[in-house]
Amino acid sequence: MSEAVAHHDDLHDHKPTGIGRWLFSTNHKDIGTMYLVFALIMFFVGGAMAMIIRAELFQPGLQYVDPLFFNSMTTMHALIMIFGAVMPAGVGLANWLIPMMIGAPDMALPRMNNMSFWILPFAFAMLLSTLFMSGGAPNGGWTMYPPLVTQLNDAFPFLIFTVHFLGISSIMGAINIIATVFNMRAPGMSFMKLPLFVWTWIITAFLLIASLPVLAGAVTMLLTDKYFGTSFFDAAGGGDPVMFQHIFWFFGHPEVYILILPAFGIVSQIIPTFARKPLFGYESMVYATASIAFLSFFVWAHHMFTVGMPLAGELFFMYATMSIAVPTGVKIFNWVATMWKGSMTFETPMLFAIAFVMLFSIGGFTGLMMAITPVDFQYHDTYFIVAHFHYVLVPGAVFALFAAIYYWLPKWTGHMYDEKLGKLHFWLSVISVNVLFFPQHFIGLAGMPRRIPDYNMQFAEWNMISSLGGFVFGLSQLLFVWVVIKCIRGGEKASDQVWEGAHGLEWTLSSPPPFHSFTTPPRVTDAVAHS
């Protein structure tokens, strides 16, 4: 960039340069970019761990790693993918898009925004450092059940404080998002005109603020149990380890909606664009999302049907869980109805969005199966549950994130991505992800337990197929990185609207958008309100 151009930029945008631009950034786009890059790095770190798991499970018997390390891998894979990849990617998208979608210049609390991002690299440095400690990284499962987790050596306090840091970061991010949407909407942008992505993020942010402090409390109790002589979960002192499961899942169930609600929002933006029809049932989408979030606080014990609850409890949690299928069904119905008789085209974001609707539904249905208490006793802690939550998280949440990147990347960079490579990435991913996870339903029903590095011969074939799918899926994601890099470096110039059917304030900005999104509030007309 020449001196003259740099100076020109300075005048309009006051954009700091060098490393300081990123370290001290208070700009929603830069912070959003950092969140997304961080999430991508963590996606590959967690993915590498998944590759180790699948390599070990390629054949029965112990091959490459010792069982304790294998258990570290399953535990760390979960923690990194949940807190390091999917959640930061969602917050990154929120940072990039919410100010642009509601007609604001930036987030409401830019300094806190900077802090909530920069906590993450340190938190994960702490967590990853446990891999090199005596006794190894956490290996009792990401759910941190006592008394197993308190038997960890040096890794224990690192695990606990990592969770604290991640919680603080997410809560600050959530407060920022709500403060932005509640106070910085452009004139005329009423709540019922907000794009669905913004709506799902408001609701997600409330879930974060309500549920993460409970997790922080639970891990603090673990910490004091181990080092300060309390007995919350220690049976020897009159505590009850099952109580941890109740408190953990009181956080844990809302947490799964924290992962998936932003994905619902993304898909609700993309499908109308490529079906060239407004979203079917906008209001019902908002209410359905809110009811899912509300109900998520009353279903936690379906994660622990086998601990020995009274019949009344099991029945209550069974029916409460099943009732969540109603608002979720409303959403699926609305997406399908939006596509119905639309003039559909199938660009990469749309392909990922359609795959999301179909494959997330499969994950949803297996979830319903497990909500049935008596049969859950068979599914509990088998590969069936592994197949279930990977179906809702990988071709669910992660596909929606891919869709979002393909959809908004031309807006962010000003260049179109390579459509051919994007489609190749989609087809490789969608086929391999099914080869990877679908067989896990079968081996789970046949009784293969999760989190164990060895297995009976009868599960050999499906495990091998699953591992092959896993390797292809892992490698395909390198293609994604290449598409993104290629698009950032250059490509066909993208128009302001980018997609023919795109509506909403962010598409009225230039591509790439100015450093501060809307310095003067835009006029919100019905045409740009929501698609």
Binding site: G135, Q151, A179, F182, I209, L215, G217, M221, A235, D240
Partner: protein, 188 residues
């Protein structure tokens, strides 16, 4: 106050309140378990409140006893493995512990009744589990449990199991750990 700060303050307050709620779940859970017997913990009853006229002589319930030790260098046995009682009648069991190590050990017994749904109908008038038990090296002790099976016990329960596990009291816990971080039993 700027409206943004107002929103932020309210939300921060909500986060702090939810942290407190996490801790509040502990007493809520305990009260809930007291009422439902969810975690297998038993009820307590004052011996003066036991009404000898209320004994249901038409019914007999078998109570079995189970003794466990967790990382404690003790012996822990019960005199009779099972007794039959009528609901409402005071039953009795005699347990014996012996410290087989050469050090003084303080232990605490945690009771549990199976099936858990029946635990609310099992009331103890006297139990060694109410307090810590301290045994000198080589010392032996006899401990008595007196209990009443509530007459309201649903008919589907014909037998109950009362299980005790003795734990070493956390303060003087001297647990060794191996390289991998797993606890190994004290060899004493």
């Amino acid at each position: 106050m700027r409206p943004v700060n107002k929103t932020t303050g309210k939300l921060a307050l909500l986060a702090v309140a939810m942290f407190g709620f996490g801790y509040l779940l502990v007493p809520i859970y305990n009260v809930f378990c007291d009422i439902t017997g969810l975690n297998g913990k038993t009820g307590e009853i004052n011996i003066a409140d036991v009404d000898p006229m209320a004994v249901d002589r038409h019914r007999t319930v078998t109570v079995e006893f189970d003794t466990n030790l967790r990382e404690l260098p003790w012996e822990f046995v019960v005199e009779e493995r099972k007794v039959s009682v009528h609901p409402g009648e005071i039953g009795e069991a005699v347990f014996r512990v012996r410290n087989t190590s050469d050090r003084d050990v303080i232990g605490r017994a945690i009771p549990s009744v199976a099936p858990t749904q029946a635990s609310v109908y099992f009331d103890k008038t006297e139990c060694f589990c109410f307090e810590e038990q301290s045994l000198r090296a080589g010392e032996e002790k006899e401990m008595v449990v007196r209990f009443v099976v509530n007459t309201e016990l649903p008919l589907r329960f014909a037998s109950l199991v009362l299980s005790y596990t003795f734990f070493e009291v956390p303060d003087n816990k001297t647990v060794n750990r191996n390289e991998a971080g797993f606890q190994i039993k004290n060899k004493s």
